[in-house]
Symmetry: C2
Subunit: 351 residues, 2 copies
DNA sequence: TTGAAAGCGCTAACAG
DNA sequence: CTGTTAGCGCTTTCAA
């Protein structure tokens, strides 16, 4: 346990000032001779600039934060891998937090990051705009991935009012929106639409949607794809846990034995659906067809192999990291990545 | 984007010195009156001490590092969740890195952590003792989880020599071992032994082991459980990737169609085995029985559901985090957590 | 019990 | 092109 050399040590050993060392090491101008000398001494002393000093001086930590709901969910594992890969290529540290899809924990983690002066953050948000206010106020560069923060209830109400006005042929007042953070999303709308069309093509009419936290855009897409009127009993929600997902799936199958197909909004829900169906002796795809959001390695292992809506988790993470590192001036604020319906064996014609 | 209050602001507003504020906030002694006053002002100014200043002063970052091979592997996801849960309870930041089971990347990540002055690290190591030397030299508190660093080749050789001496009835010289870092491991030996016994009980004699990086202890246990002579063709290794795992599994099945059972050393290998078997039209468990290390949610979804050796990934992470945060004086240096054979449907009697 | 002051290692003005 | 210097926000002696 020997203590590391400081910039001062290098300066002395090289017979120059500390500023020169700093300059050379950060690519500033210096005479070839000096540069060479400094570099040699630094190498010889095995000098590594301490991030501590730099951070304090610049009043910000390098690197970035990453907040996901649950690293046990393969999709978020993929996303995280993407972020880490990008960060590794630039040598940046990534502070990771797991929110458990709980706004309160998310809030605490944001506080922790603020305390660390981490000013760049990639998040799969759980809380609403209010939860995210402190981060924005502090001037953090935030990039949302996979989903956007829910909008506060009051705003939704206001939207409803606006909609009514529009029905009456009136133009609602233009109200300012909170500045949208850049985000990286999958094309949920297209993904869901394709899946629903596929199921309808197979003859299915009573199609259910099994959603989880943050799946609002997917449900909306589902509603749109199914068209009015949507049978509300066929749209059910679980919280983040596997237990809750199982309960929701099981409840759905039991309360509506007439449904013939299910779209699961995420891989944990898909897993729950398979389990619940088996428990209730429903055969897939004979009794019920299933499409799952997320392609995960085990989707192929199921029998039958699961038909899925694949989204590029790793790419999403990588892109988000790029965005947060280089907040381009006129870069597209929102990146939408394509989804793909991968047809395997979990869907069949309506029984 | 308003700038945060500093300790100086609080001191001025409370009419005390900065030292007093520091003391009060870190639970030092102060008159009740002063304390109250400082606390009130701090709250009112929404003061949060900056980790930057503290870190520089103490020449160390709070929190810890976490290095895993791949967050896409559910087991490491579980482990990471455990670490993050523990860290969250103490408000500590966790810097996570993914090594891809590549010693070089691991080495770079260690360097990055050193640069950040992160002096506590939990790692699922990939490199050998040499890779870990810099961390040790720098005085990092390291806790290994799931596995230990491979020992350098020369040492293995020396061991072989020692073994020969013992065979000759000689006592080899006592050579110093590198100080062992504390670690949290699953009881691989018992887990593998139980699985092998179970398979033998079903009548299997030609049992193969499908291993990956870091599975040395598991192979050793396998060899021991099978007893001499071990059919070396039945012990095959893959690198970390899914492709490699698939290739290894497929190759194994094809080169030794006479094998009747396989023990997969990890969930990625288990996945590969299922896939390869299916591709070769081998039925599980009729044609080949399979036991997989790691219980993961999808093990139950397979058909047949996979018989597994479960290890408590989340607990392992949590314990490791506790160990690294409180390096107990005379605490057990190595924690071994129990494994459990969970019998589902992937093993049958020898055909 | 309290405050003043000295840095921790680094970068960025500012002179030279 | 280069060196000197002034902090960044905090903790921690050391006196008072």
């Amino acid at each position: 346990m020997e203590k590391r050399a400081t910039i001062k040590d290098v300066a002395e050993a090289a017979g120059v000032g500390v500023a020169t060392v700093s300059r050379v090491l950060s690519g500033g101008s210096a005479s070839p001779h000096t540069r060479e000398r400094v570099l040699a001494v630094a190498a010889q002393l095995d000098y590594r600039p301490s991030a501590l000093g730099r951070n304090l001086r610049q009043r910000r930590t390098g690197g970035m934060g990453l907040l996901v709901p649950d690293l046990t969910d393969t999709f978020y594992g993929q996303l995280a891998e993407g972020v880490l890969a990008c960060a590794r290529s630039t040598g940046e540290p990534v502070v990771v937090g797991s929110t458990g899809d709980d706004p309160e924990q998310e809030s605490e983690l944001i506080g922790m990051l603020l305390e660390q002066s981490v000013d760049r953050l990639i998040a799969v948000p759980t809380g609403d705009a209010e939860t995210w206010a402190p981060a924005v106020r502090a001037g953090m560069t935030v990039v949302f991935a996979d989903r956007l923060p829910a909008r506060p209830a009051e705003e939704e109400q206001q939207d409803a009012v606006d909609d009514l006005m529009r029905l009456d042929g009136l133009s609602p007042a233009v109200r300012p929106r909170p500045p949208e953070a850049p985000s990286v999303l999958a094309d949920d709308r297209a993904g869901i639409r394709t899946a629903v069309r596929y199921l309808r093509g197979l003859g299915h009419r009573r199609i259910a949607f099994l959603g989880g936290p943050g799946h609002d855009r997917r449900v909306a897409a589902f509603r749109e794809a199914v068209g009015t009127p949507v049978d509300e009993e066929l749209v059910v929600f679980a919280t983040g846990s596997r237990d809750s997902a199982y309960a929701a799936a099981s409840g759905l199958f039991q309360s509506r034995p007439d449904l013939t197909a299910v779209v699961a909004g995420g891989n944990v829900l898909g897993e729950a659906a398979v389990l619940a169906a088996r428990e209730l002796d429903l055969r897939v795809p004979r009794d019920v067809s299933l499409v799952m959001y997320d392609d995960v390695p085990w989707a192929e292992l199921c029998s039958p192999p699961l038909t899925v809506i694949a989204q590029p988790g790793r790419d999403m993470g990588y892109r988000a990291a790029e965005l947060v590192l280089r907040p381009g001036v006129r870069r597209p604020r929102t990146v939408v990545l394509p989804t793909e319906l991968i047809i395997r064996g979990s869907c069949g014609p309506r029984r």
